[in-house]
Amino acid sequence: MVSDRIDHDAAAGGTAELLLEARGITKRFPGVVANADVSLQLHRGEILALLGENGAGKSTLVKMLFGLYRPDEGEIRIKGEPVTLRSPKDAISRGIGMVHQHFQLVPVMTVAENVVLGAEPCRGRFIDQRRAAAEVRKLSERYGLAVDPAATVEDLPVGTQQRVEIIKALFRGAEILILDEPTAVLTPQETDELLQIMRELAARGVGIIFITHKLREVMAVADRVEVLRGGRVVGSAVPSRTDEAGLASMMVGRTVVLRVDKTPAQPGAVMLRVRALQVDDDRHQRAVRGLDLEVRAGEIVGVAGVQGNGQRELVEAICGMRPIRSGTVEVDGRDTTSMNAKAVNGLGVAHIPEDREKHGLVGSYTIADDLVLNRFDEEPFARHGLRDFTAIDKQAEQLVQRFDVRTPSIHTETNALSGGNKQKVIVARELSYDAKLVVAAQPTRGVDVGSIEFIHRQLVAERDRGAAVLVVSAELDEILGLSDRVAVMSEGRIVAMLPIEEADRDRIGLLMAGGA
C-alpha cells in the first residue's frame, strides 16, 4: 500500500522537488476575507510552519489544501499539476493527509483495524487481520512511530491516538501531511515525541505543513516559516536565522512580552478549601483520591501535573459539574460539596473549562449569546424571565473589544470563529463578572502569543483585584510564569505545594513523575 517513492530524494531545501503549491488563494466568508492572495510552496522533505495570530487564516488555508473548503480564487498545484480538490477524498487520493485534532478513529476497534479501515486488505469477506497488523508494523518501524497494532484505540493516550492518525495517513500514501495545532492537547513529552516523528518523516521525504502557536516548537523543527496576518502572507523566515522574539513580533506586528510581569502576591482569606476530596472519572474509576488544597484571595495557585492525573475531575468537582464521592469543598466559607454548577457559579466562581467545544460554547449560538451562556438569567441580561437583548449586546460589544475577539459582528455564529477566538470568547465571559474564585483549566490553549500575554495579564489582574485564582495547565511555562504557589498533582493527590521561589522545572518534573 505504501509506495516506496517517498524514500528517495529526501533532502530538504531549494533543490528538492516541489510537492505542493498554492497560488494567489483567496477565500471569503460573510464579513471576512479569511485568505487574501495567499501563495506558498512545500517541498519534498520540508517542514513548513504556518504562524499567525488567531483568525489569521491558517486553518482556512489548510482546509482548502485538504478539500474541506473550495478557494474563491487561486490555484492549487500538486507536483506542478493544477488540481481541484472537491473533498478530502480527492485530497487523499492525491497524496495529502491531514490529522485533525478531533481524531477520526473508531474507539472500540484496534489500531490495525483503524488504520486499514476503508482500504482493508481482505480475505474472503473478512479483514485480513494479520496482513493489516503487518502493514501497521512496517510503517511504524520505518518512521519510528511506536504503537501496538493490536491495542484498542480507546485505551490509548491522546498522543498515541494521534500517531495512529499519522500512520493512517501514511498508509493511504500521503506524501504531504497537514497538522493543524497537533500539539495543543499533548503532554510536553508527547510533544517532543511528535516533533521527533515529524523530523523522521521529513527525512524520508514527506512534506509537512505544521500549524502551532508555540514558537519553541517552530524553532525546533521547522525548515521554513510563513507568517500570516489578516489573511495575507506578511513574511517568511528561517528559524535558524531568527529567534522566538523575532517570530513573535513578525506575527503580531509588535514586540511581545513572553514573561508575565507581576508584583508579589498579597494573600488574604482562604477562598477555596478542598478537604479529603474523592471524585470518580467518567469510567467510574477513582480519579481524585483524598486531595487537600487551599487557595487564598489574592493569590494564583497553579496545578502542575501530567494530564490524566485527576486534574479534570478536580476542576469539575469544584465547579459543581461532577458528583463528589467524599470529602468537602468550601468556597468563601460556604460548603458547596453538594451544589450544582448553577449554585456554585452563583457564589462567584468563574470556570474556564478545559474542553471548549464540548462545555464552553454552543457553536450554533451567536457570540453575544455565548457570552452570557451561564448568566443568561441574571440581571441585567434578563428580568422576570425575559431576556434583555440591549444589555446582552452591550456587554458583547464591550467584551469583544476588550478581549480582542476577531469577528465581523457580535451576532456571528461562534462556530465561524477561529479556534483561538473561540477560546477568547470563553475567557472573556468568565473574567467579566468579578468572581471571587477563578478556576481556569488550560486558559490559553490554542491562543496566539499576543493573546496569551493578554490573558495572563488579565488573570494577574483578577488576583490583584482580590480574587483567588486556580490555574490548571499542561504548560509548565504557563504554571511557572503565572503562579504564586505551585501545586504538583500526581495520581489524584497534591504531592507537593511549592512557593514559586522554590519551584524549578526539574524538581517539578520529578514530583510529577511520582518521585520525591
Partner: protein, 354 residues
C-alpha cells in the same frame, strides 16, 4: 449574511413550487388536466368565504401539531407522538364537553380546552421522564405511546363513552356551551392557533426558558456546564410539546367535529412533522406551512369532482416538498445527534486549530 438568510428562507418556497410542478406532471401522466386541478384547489380553498373557512379549519390543528414538533426539536427531541397526544386531548375535551351540562360558556369552553391541553401533556410528560431519567429514546417511547393511545381512545369512544343510540362508535355531541363559535363563517379556533404560534415564538426566542431549551437542544454538555437542569428541561419541553398537540385535538373537537369520533383526527400529528420541517423549525413559519397543507386538504372533494383527480395527489405533493426541504436538514440533525452521543469522527471541521 443577509443573502444567506434570504436563500435559506427561499428554500422551502422553491421546494413547494417544484413539488407543485411534479404534482402537475403526475396529474398529466394520469391523463388529467393540471389546469383543472389547480382550478379545483383554488375553488376548494379560497374561492369564497366557506372555502376559506374550510382551509382555516384544516390548518388549525396542523399549526398546533407543527408547533408541538417544533418545541420538541428545539430541545433536541423528536416528538413522533403528537398524534397520540392529540387524540387523548381530543377525547378528553369531548368528554368534558358533553358530560358537564350546566356550565356557562365562559367556564365550559375553556375548561374543555384545558382538559385537552392537560391530557395531551400527560403522555408526553411520561415520555419526557422516561427519556430524562431512564434514557429511553423518545422516538421509541412516543411510537409505543401512539399505539396505546389510538387503542385507548378507540375503546373509550366505542365503549364506556360511546353515544348509546348509535351504531358507529363515537362520543355524544358536546354541549353548545363548549363549542368554539364561528364568526362570519371563519373558525375562531384558527385565530387561537395563530396566537399560540406567536406565544411559542416569543417563548423560544425571548425568554430565559426558551434559551435553556435551545441550549439543551444544541449542546447538552454546555447546558450542564452553564448550570441548566438538562433533565428538567427535557421533561418540560416534551410536556409542552404534548400540551400543544392536545390543544390541537381539543380545538378540533370543540370547533370542527363537535364530538370525538375515531378516525377523524388521523394523520394530524404526522402532518405536524411535515410542517415543522417545511417551517424550518420556526414557530411563526408554521402558520403559512399549515395554511398551505390546509388549503390542499380542504380542496380534496373539489379535486375529485372538478378535475377527477384522486385527492392522494396532495400527499404526493407534500411528500416531494418535504423531501426537498428536509433531506439536508435531517442529515445534519442526525449527524449532530451522533456527535452529541459521543461518537467521534463525523464532524471534520472541529479541532483546536479551527
Amino acid at each position: 449574511m443577509n443573502r444567506q438568510r434570504v436563500q435559506s428562507a427561499l428554500l422551502p418556497v422553491v421546494a413547494v413550487l417544484v413539488a407543485f410542478l411534479i404534482g402537475a406532471i403526475v396529474v398529466l401522466a394520469d391523463g388529467k388536466s393540471p389546469v383543472r386541478a389547480a382550478e379545483a384547489v383554488i375553488k376548494g380553498s379560497m374561492a369564497n368565504r366557506a372555502a376559506i373557512g374550510a382551509t382555516l379549519e384544516k390548518a388549525t390543528p396542523l399549526i398546533l401539531t407543527g408547533l408541538a414538533v417544533i418545541v420538541g426539536m428545539k430541545a433536541g427531541l423528536f416528538n413522533i407522538g403528537a398524534q397520540g397526544q392529540l387524540l387523548l386531548g381530543s377525547i378528553m375535551s369531548a368528554y368534558v364537553g358533553y358530560r358537564l351540562t350546566v356550565l356557562p360558556t365562559v367556564v365550559h369552553l375553556p375548561l374543555a380546552l384545558l382538559a385537552g391541553v392537560a391530557f395531551g401533556a400527560v403522555p408526553a410528560f411520561v415520555v419526557g421522564v422516561l427519556k430524562a431519567y431512564r434514557g429511553v429514546h423518545e422516538v421509541i417511547a412516543t411510537i409505543m405511546m401512539n399505539t396505546i393511545l389510538v387503542n385507548l381512545t378507540d375503546w373509550l369512544a366505542g365503549g364506556p363513552w360511546m353515544q348509546p343510540d348509535q351504531a358507529i362508535s363515537k362520543t355524544p355531541p358536546i354541549q353548545a356551551s363548549a363549542e368554539i363559535p364561528k364568526v362570519a363563517d371563519l373558525p375562531v379556533g384558527f385565530f387561537l392557533a395563530v396566537v399560540m404560534a406567536f406565544v411559542v415564538w416569543f417563548l423560544l426566542s425571548r425568554t430565559t426558558l426558551g434559551f435553556e431549551l435551545g441550549t439543551v437542544g444544541a449542546n447538552r454538555d454546555a447546558a450542564h456546564y452553564a448550570g441548566m437542569s438538562v433533565k428538567g428541561i427535557t421533561v418540560l419541553a416534551m410536556t409542552l410539546s404534548g400540551a400543544l398537540a392536545g390543544l390541537g385535538g381539543a380545538i378540533e373537537t370543540q370547533g370542527v367535529v363537535g364530538r370525538f369520533e375515531p378516525g377523524f383526527n388521523r394523520g394530524l400529528g404526522f402532518d405536524g412533522i411535515t410542517i415543522a420541517l417545511l417551517a424550518k423549525v420556526s414557530p411563526r413559519a408554521a402558520i403559512p406551512a399549515a395554511l398551505l397543507i390546509g388549503a390542499l386538504r380542504a380542496s380534496s372533494t373539489q379535486l375529485q369532482s372538478i378535475a377527477q383527480v384522486a385527492p392522494e395527489i396532495v400527499d404526493v405533493i407534500l411528500a416531494v416538498a418535504l423531501l426537498l426541504v428536509a433531506a439536508p436538514m435531517i442529515i445534519r440533525w442526525a449527524l449532530r445527534l451522533r456527535n452529541a452521543s459521543g461518537v467521534e469522527g463525523v464532524n471534520l471541521n472541529t479541532g483546536w486549530g479551527s
